[in-house]
């Protein structure tokens, strides 16, 4: 195969670097971690503290406001009810808190970065390989140092989820804006629209279907991280799945898996509803 004489390795320096970080900067990272944790606990507190039927109704209201579709609204209600009936209510709320936070942060990071990438070729050049790394570097490789730094539990889980889930949103925001009809943008420019006005009034609305496809993927990928999240101690549905599969209890894993799928569908349909222009509702 490949001649061994050419080999080199970065193993030791990397391991030493991680060691050094943990030993010397552990407390700094812990402080950051605690701050993020507070927000998370707040969201979780609200979701878990509210009676289940209130949560279901709240989601149905959101679904209605977002989509104005009766069938979908009822569907959301039934799906959440099923989650409850499978005995997964509490886990679902914990996972929901984590996913809501991760999705929100992804949107807050992803859309602006996507816009920058669309506007500046240089940003795009730098960002694309980074996204490749974020999507394909196995989570555990960065999770191990992350959890040594931030401690076990929800915080590294949220970070890993964001790292893994944000790239499609960035990529598709970029693509969507680049695909906007050049003539329409030119007309806005000719009438003296400011860059911000053109962005918010013309480019983003016209790129919306593509951006929403990105958000859909971000939500899907976030929810596909639920199990990984619980591998580092985040509670919720992932834990149940893990427990099911580690004891070869496919049924148990499947039930919790269904919970995850339902969460994905509910979150996706509601966000897609809000992203659709009013005209087509």
């Amino acid at each position: 195969m490949f001649p061994e004489s050419l080999n080199f390795s970065i193993r030791k320096p990397i391991n030493h670097f991680v060691d050094m970080l943990v030993t010397n900067y552990g407390s700094t990272f812990r402080a950051i971690s605690d701050a993020i944790l507070q927000v998370l606990l707040l969201i979780e507190g609200v979701l878990r503290g509210t009676p289940w039927w209130v949560v279901i109704i709240a989601f149905m209201v959101l679904a209605w406001l977002g989509t104005r579709r009766v069938v979908l609204t009822i569907g959301v209600g039934i799906m959440l009810l099923v989650v409850g009936m499978l005995g997964l209510w509490d886990q679902t709320m914990q996972t929901l808190a984590l996913m809501t936070m991760a999705t929100l942060i992804s949107v807050v990071i992803g859309i602006p970065l996507g816009i920058l990438a669309a506007k500046f070729r240089s940003v795009q050049r730098i960002i694309l390989p980074v996204l490749d790394v974020m999507q394909t570097m196995p989570s555990f490789v960065y999770l191990i140092p992350a959890l040594m730094l931030f401690g076990l539990g929800k915080v590294p889980a949220v970070l890993a989820t964001i790292i893994y889930a944000v790239p499609p949103l960035i990529r598709l925001t970029d693509l969507g804006i680049r695909q906007v009809d050049h003539e329409v943008v030119e007309a806005s420019t000719a009438f003296g629209g400011s860059p911000m006005r053109i962005l918010f009034g013309t480019e983003l609305p016209l790129a919306m279907p593509t951006i929403m496809a990105g958000l859909n993927q971000t939500i899907m990928m976030a929810l596909s991280m639920v199990v990984v999240a619980s591998m580092i101690g985040a509670r919720g549905l992932g834990e149940t799945v893990l427990n099911g599969i580690q004891t070869l209890d496919v049924g148990k894993g499947l039930e919790a898996g269904i919970g995850i799928v339902i969460l994905a569908i509910v979150l996706d349909r509601i966000t897609q509803g809000f992203g659709k222009p009013r005209r087509f509702k």
Partner: protein
């Protein structure tokens, strides 16, 4: 008000404009340059004065550079060479902010291809210029509704462009430019999709605007009758070059060359 001065403007499309511009200076033809460099010659060394408060008509063969020329005036296109002055300031040196202010307040445009925002209603499209300028929405809508009525689209204000016919779209573009209420209006074949009744109505409105508000209007048309009717002055382009400028009568009476003569021949009998 001292109008617009265009000084030695050339425009080359495509990569390798430098090489092409040298060939332009050597006087090679558009077709030769296209073949040699793959570059399209949009304009070659145009020098032209557009006086303020007039309707200035630009005519010429299809592909002769009319759209390219007017797009230079609001800097949608940067020239490969030359300068453009507007009220004695060089438009090409405007900073980003100034350029924006210039576009919101001084100059608006009707696009040959309409270029309406497909996600906005007719009304939202029409008030775009006013909103950009910072006019309150209510007031902008009042102005917008007025212009929608004037172009004959009342009742369609909440429709979307894809629900309109070709001529209706063009009128939305027209109303958008007029509602912006700028000193200069660039009109790139703004009436080409209109029927004769609406068209003559629009011509009247344009003349009135020019008379009452002393707007400067740069008007591209293929219709010689129209040019003669509304133009204070007519410029004729060919292959990116300016062939003749003058009042309608000048041009009808003394065509600069054969091309111009052929161009106006159909109508000489009627109006001369």
């Amino acid at each position: 008000m001292s109008g617009i001065q265009i000084r030695g403007v050339s425009k080359i499309f495509g990569a390798g404009a430098d090489k092409a511009i040298a060939l332009v200076e050597q006087g090679l033809s558009k077709a030769e340059i296209l073949e040699k460099t793959g570059c399209g010659v949009g304009l070659r060394n145009i020098t032209l004065d557009i006086p303020a408060g007039e309707i200035f008509v630009i005519m010429g063969l299809s592909g002769s550079g009319k759209s390219t020329l007017v797009r230079h005036l609001n800097r949608l296109i940067e020239p490969s060479a030359g300068e453009i002055f507007f009220d004695n300031t060089n438009v090409l040196t405007l900073g980003r902010k100034e350029l924006r202010a210039f576009r919101t307040n001084r100059i608006s445009m009707v696009f040959q291809s309409f270029a309406l925002a497909p996600h906005k209603t007719v009304l939202q499209n029409v008030i775009y210029g006013q909103i950009s300028r910072g006019t309150a929405r209510k007031q902008a809508e009042a102005i917008g509704m007025e212009w929608i009525a004037k172009v004959g689209l009342s009742g369609y204000e909440h429709r979307y462009p894809d629900q309109l016919s070709g001529g209706m779209k063009q009128r939305v573009g027209l109303a958008r430019a007029l509602a912006a209420d700028t000193d200069v209006i660039l009109m790139d074949e703004a009436f080409s999709a209109l029927d004769p009744l609406i068209r003559s109505d629009m011509q009247d409105q344009l003349l009135q605007l020019q008379r009452d508000l002393a707007k400067t209007i740069v008007f591209i048309t293929h219709d010689l009758d129209e040019a003669l009717r509304i133009g204070s002055r007519i410029a004729i382009l060919k292959d990116g070059e300016l062939v003749q400028v003058g009042t309608p009568n000048d041009i009808l009476a003394n065509p600069a060359n054969d091309y111009v003569a052929r161009f106006v021949q159909g109508r000489t009998a009627v109006h001369a």
